[in-house]
Subunit: 238 residues, 2 copies
Amino acid sequence: MRAPYGLEILDNCLSCPVREEHLFCNLALPAVQRLNHIKSTAVYPKATMLFIEGQQPRGVFVLCAGKAKLFTSASDGKTIITKISEPGDVLGLNATISNRPYEVTAEMMEPGQANFIARDDLVQFMRENGEVAVRVAEQLSRNYYSAYEEIRTLGLASSPSEKFAKLLLSWSPRAGNASEPANLKLTLTHEEIAEMIGTTRETVSRLFSDFKKKRLLQLKGSTLILPNRPALERMANL
Amino acid sequence: MRAPYGLEILDNCLSCPVREEHLFCNLALPAVQRLNHIKSTAVYPKATMLFIEGQQPRGVFVLCAGKAKLFTSASDGKTIITKISEPGDVLGLNATISNRPYEVTAEMMEPGQANFIARDDLVQFMRENGEVAVRVAEQLSRNYYSAYEEIRTLGLASSPSEKFAKLLLSWSPRAGNASEPANLKLTLTHEEIAEMIGTTRETVSRLFSDFKKKRLLQLKGSTLILPNRPALERMANL
DNA sequence: GGCTCTACGTGATGGAGGTCACATTTCCGG
DNA sequence: CCGGAAATGTGACCTCCATCACGTAGAGCC
């Protein structure tokens, strides 16, 4: 089930194995050829910073393998993780398009691979190809949407438990109307979860205890089970 | 100084009186003609909802006169104002491009006027004209940036006073290095300010008192004076 | 097996700010 | 100029969570 962690370069990394919304899927052949010409592929070890908050944008990274966390920090060191990126995601697009500094730091959480497209090449490619520009615009608006969800979570939720419930729900694939329990792998530390919902590690630890007691979640090793989605939704004010 | 509040239709509302970043400025003539053909102009009284959170996107509004507030609400009624839009701003672009429901409600705060461009027309226009699509992408990434600022404010600031200081700073035009006091019109109620920084009206009221006492702001009628920008920046952790 | 380092669990404590209540002022339409 | 509504000022209270402090558990390593 897991992405290969070896260091060999994956071929055809821009193709779309799963998700329809990938940025450069199903383009016309000439566009694909042009794309292959301007992209470059590289392999990154764990903890690599693909780019750092505040840097001038060099271009975008299309993640092929591995996960990356995107986060931003205040001068006092407080940090919020805004997204855990997975293969297929495009990183640094907003900064690159608007030519403003990267607004987040992107750090590999595991060894992985990514395609890089330099800013000038991408902008030129967009100008020549309206379809590509539309795709980019769509991707940007998706990014905006998830930023908006973040705002709603941070701004509208009154308690850490509410935010925690929202986070759990966002992890669980919405399985139709059925109320079958969702289970998934928990790969984040309490510290990281705390940085995602704007609270402290200790509070997250207590939240896990509370939620277990209330039968809102179970942990078997690193497998997280959510037996009662509706109750979570009630907690999250949905 | 104030925009006319009469109900006559302003001509040439898509032109750019002030700001360079307006969406459709300085386009080639044929594009401008096309634009004038697909847009329609209307006048809206105070408290009009241009669109409502959750509605399917009909298209975008380019605000010509008047201010509008953009906000989103939780089911329990708690509300956050994410932006005060001013003439020249483009409203509803993200939802329109991604064809997802409007993520906010846009409500006129004063009588005003806006151009409307229907979704299909806009998308078609973008496809035919790569330059327009690039402009749209740039606008989207600007929107994303301000959403990001919001996230930083809500997520990284620990106290209401910190957020309040940030808000005041965001209102004050950054006047070079000089430390001349900034003054500006205060058009929002304490309630609205509270909804912008995620706190309560009472707390905002107390913040005004505290900040006055600490010589961080003065109020002359509805004119707000910030005599000590550096001190505000310190409060905001900048 | 023992060592170290990181992740996690949990109690005690204090204070910031949300909540409620009510007084006062400002605004605005008639 | 007046009356009601909306906006604002302020006190009292009390909850929730950040903080501090420590103990424990597990993972990797020699």
